[in-house]
């Protein structure tokens, strides 16, 4: 059920002065960021710039050294027990390495997304109620993998596994979807498929998406808004639609992930100018 147009955009993630130290390393350095419902935000930054750490704070997988993390109106670091799990169940997390349980079937992997709604431990398809199984099959259908439901997860290709992981996240009925370099282990074609799927789901369901990437071109193609990180601090925050060439160059200048990429875009721009 998408949010109705009449309700004013509402803040779902609010980070203020967020800092995180790992021993002597500063992973995040005073990050303040506000994300509104339905936005698709892409985090860009070099390796080690703090993208994963930032996402992990939103799902309480890491706790801040300083600053505040508010998600869906909850003060995340203060949560524990049942309320922590309730929050986590509202936030889907998609990992670079998919993190499916290799020996379980695709369907059971999707079903694990519903654990927060169920009581007690589950092992085996028979231990899940039928209604959940139907819903899991529907999500598999949506990501185009219904025919693989009973195959072992580790027999799928990387792109397929990531789509199963997306189905697992959808199974949570999340309000927010976090994706940490969801396509970094995939070939370009699967990458486009997965990014298109995330984008489509976000629009149809009115989900808020925070996705880290390190390819600027992908970010420009799929984001509503681009946030650049460097050394744990926000160095860029701009809408991703209707960007001028100069703005694109600026993004590359601030967060380009490799000189190769930088040069490629530069030549492309020059070619275009020459035309």
């Amino acid at each position: 059920m998408p949010t109705t147009q009449s309700t004013p955009p509402e803040t779902v993630v609010e980070l203020a002065g967020l800092s995180k130290q790992f021993g002597s390393t500063t992973a995040l350095d005073g990050v303040s960021l506000t994300v509104r419902r339905g936005e698709v935000v892409v985090l860009l930054g070099l390796s080690g710039s703090g993208k994963s750490t930032l996402l992990r704070h939103i799902d309480a997988l890491d706790l801040p050294s300083a600053g505040s993390v508010k998600v869906l109106g909850e003060d995340v670091p203060a949560l524990s027990g049942r309320r922590l799990r309730a929050l986590r169940s509202r936030v889907g997390f998609i990992f670079q390495q998919f993190e499916l349980v290799p020996s379980l079937s695709v369907l059971e992997n999707v079903l694990t997304g519903a654990l927060a709604e169920l009581r007690g431990p589950r092992l085996g398809l028979w231990s899940y109620p039928k209604s959940k199984k139907l819903r899991a099959l529907a999500h598999l259908d949506r990501v185009g993998l219904l025919d693989r439901a009973y195959q072992r997860a580790d027999t799928l290709s990387g792109g397929q596994q990531q789509r199963v992981a997306i189905a697992r996240a959808l199974m949570q009925n999340p309000s927010i979807l976090l994706a940490d370099e969801p396509v970094a282990s995939l070939d370009p074609e699967s990458s486009d498929q997965v990014m298109a799927l995330i984008r489509e789901i976000a629009y149809e369901e009115g989900l808020t998406v925070l996705c880290s990437l390190h390819q600027v071109d992908l970010a420009i193609a799929w984001a509503d808004r681009i946030v650049g990180l460097r050394h744990g601090a926000v160095v860029l925050d701009m809408p991703a639609t209707g960007l001028s060439k100069a703005q694109v160059m600026e993004i590359y200048g601030r967060v380009a992930t490799s000189t190769d990429e930088f040069e490629a875009v530069q030549t492309e721009l020059m070619n275009e100018a020459a035309r």
Partner: protein, 577 residues
């Protein structure tokens, strides 16, 4: 405490027809058969528990039996010092020499058995089969045979231990060889080395640590098992103990049991120290002494200063390897090992000319063992006894599995609620592992007077040390990614455990359980020898009554059982990949 979260919105209510369009779950007949077999085994094991009558009233009864026993027997007594030292030296010499023999024999056997070094398929099959055979025949049985061929002394025991241990050591060694990184060997082959050179330069260096670890582990097992050899006449502490119990000197018998117990614990400490020293700091051993050693090394880095590698002035001066800390340590360890081996051989007092004379006795002995026959026993009696042995093994395995799953899980870093819990349960496992189960069985049987129950409980307790550790390790080895993913969905700890941790380690746990069952079948046989019921009793009786054809028949029964279990284990491993 109500949540301020906005109400949950269900995404995409189930589209109509997915259930119809979904593929049917695949039900491979082989998998169903395997699941049914597993279920049948579990039911059999539960039935065995009931049959053996392990229950609280029984345990209370054995407790009161034990109290009465100690009233009757009085104090535990020890042999005098001189005698004690001689006996201890005999037992240690026997065990060390036997293990050494096995260690040497297992190298060529493993070479032939490993798929990547074996000269051919036939060689591989034959070598693997010899290994299985050596493992399946209990060392006691071998000792019974060798006692007939050799003059009394340690030689029958050494050969029995040596040949039986080859089974396990060569298997582990061959498995290690199959898992090596092929790169170095390829490089050495590319330089024109012979097959043997490839093995010594490219393979051995990679598998030596695992070989050492296996041999040390086997040495511990052999010491624990050596007591049984005494029951069939091999000199040492075991023989002395069996004499004591036979002549109803219970105090003295228990005294010797205590001595063996202490020896076993000391040997564990020595071997875990040796392991730590020889395998260096990179080892993953988790014994308390390994940890102590590692801590010591960490806190005293100045002992082995890391000198920069300066190029030697001349090639001639570089010819002599510098005496670094590591080299000193290795040399000391090498010299100590050599001394221990020589001492072991010397105290064993081997009658070397037996090796010249025993050939002439082989035909004569062989005739007495063949053809197999149950002799004066009825077939039904023997089958019943074999059934009892299998029941003891099944019941003990089930009890161990249940206890080890709980203890092992709490001892796993990624399952335990906190590190104190983990350390506590790890310590418990190490302590239990120190208990030699056969000694425990003997003591329990003697003092409780309940053979089968006491034996089963002793086996079950002894198994926890092994299976609990294996389970804890396999749980810790799982990929943590899926666990993190389930935590991120809001699952509880228990749900993460069953949803991500257990499925990833289930195959390993199944394999370990079958390994334990396999060990338990043999151990249950030995139990009978010390009064724990089952086929072992008849084995001992027929050997003492010189009914060797019956010994052969019983050994064949045991062999078939062990091979069936082994086959089941291989099948399960294949089905539940």
């Amino acid at each position: 405490m109500t949540s301020t979260l906005p109400p949950r919105v269900t995404l995409r209510p189930p589209a109509s027809g997915v259930a119809e369009r979904a593929p049917r779950p695949r039900r491979e007949p082989e998998r169903i058969a395997a699941v049914l077999t597993l279920g049948a085994l579990v039911i059999l094991a539960i039935g065995s528990l009931v049959d053996i009558d392990i229950s609280l009233p029984r345990m209370l009864q054995s407790w009161s039996n034990a109290e009465r026993f100690f009233e009757r027997v009085g104090a535990v007594t020890f042999p005098e010092t001189g005698e004690l030292l001689t006996l201890t030296a005999q037992t240690l010499g026997l065990v060390l020499t036997g293990t050494l023999l096995a260690a040497v024999l297992s190298v060529p056997l493993a070479y032939l058995a490993a798929s990547n070094t074996s000269p051919g398929r036939t060689w591989r099959v034959v070598a693997r089969f010899l290994g299985v055979l050596a493992r399946a025949v209990p060392d006691v049985v071998l000792a019974m045979v060798f006692v007939l061929m050799f003059s009394l002394g340690s030689l029958p025991g050494i050969l029995a231990i040596g040949i039986h241990s080859v089974g396990m050591i060569s298997k582990m060694f061959a498995d290690a060889i199959e898992q090596i990184d092929e790169g170095p060997r390829l490089a050495i082959r590319a330089s024109g080395a012979s097959t043997l050179q490839q093995f010594t330069a490219g393979v051995l260096p990679q598998v030596l640590p695992s070989w050492v670890a296996t041999v040390l582990h086997r040495n511990d097992i052999n010491l624990r098992g050596s007591v049984i050899l005494g029951y069939v006449g091999v000199a040492g502490l075991g023989l002395e103990m069996s004499y004591a119990f036979k002549s109803l000197e219970y105090g003295r018998g228990l005294g010797i049991a205590v001595v063996i117990f202490v020896l076993c614990v000391l040997m564990e400490i020595v071997s875990s120290t040796v392991r730590a020293v020889m395998l260096g700091s990179g080892n993953t051993a988790t014994g308390p002494f390994d940890r102590l050693l590692r801590r010591f090394r960490r806190s005293a880095p100045a002992l082995t200063p890391r000198r920069p590698l300066t190029p030697a002035a001349t090639p001639e001066s570089a010819l002599h390897r510098p005496w670094t800390g590591g080299r000193v340590r290795n040399s000391i360890a090498g010299v100590l090992t050599a001394i221990a081996i020589v001492a072991g051989v010397v105290v064993s007092d081997i009658q070397w000319n037996d090796f010249l004379t025993f050939w002439s006795r082989v035909p004569e002995v062989a005739v007495r063992f063949w053809p197999p026959s149950f002799g004066s026993y009825e077939v039904a009696t023997m089958l019943e006894a074999m059934r009892e042995t299998i029941m003891i093994a099944l019941a003990a395995t089930l009890m161990t599995l249940v206890a080890s799953t709980v203890i092992g899980s709490l001892a796993a870093r990624n399952v335990a609620p906190n590190s104190t819990t983990r350390s506590g349960f790890r310590l418990l496992l190490v302590t239990v592992r120190g208990i030699p189960e056969l000694i425990l069985a003997i003591v329990l049987i003697v003092i409780s007077g309940l053979g089968t129950q006491a034996g089963t409980i002793a086996l079950a307790v002894g198994g926890i040390g092994l299976l609990g550790k294996l389970i804890a390790d396999s749980l810790e080895e799982v990929d943590s990614g899926p666990e993190r993913a389930l935590t991120a969905t809001g699952a509880t700890r228990l749900q993460v455990y069953t949803g991500a941790t257990v499925p990833q380690s289930a195959q390993a746990m199944l394999g370990h359980t079958f390994y334990l069952l396999d060990t338990n079948i043999r151990a249950a046989t030995l139990l009978g020898i010390v009064g724990g019921g089952g086929i072992g009793y008849y084995l001992l009786n027929s050997s003492q009554g010189s009914n060797y054809a019956t010994v052969t028949a019983i050994v064949l029964m045991i062999l078939v059982t062990v091979l069936v279990i082994e086959g089941l284990a291989i099948w399960m491993r294949r089905v539940f990949r």
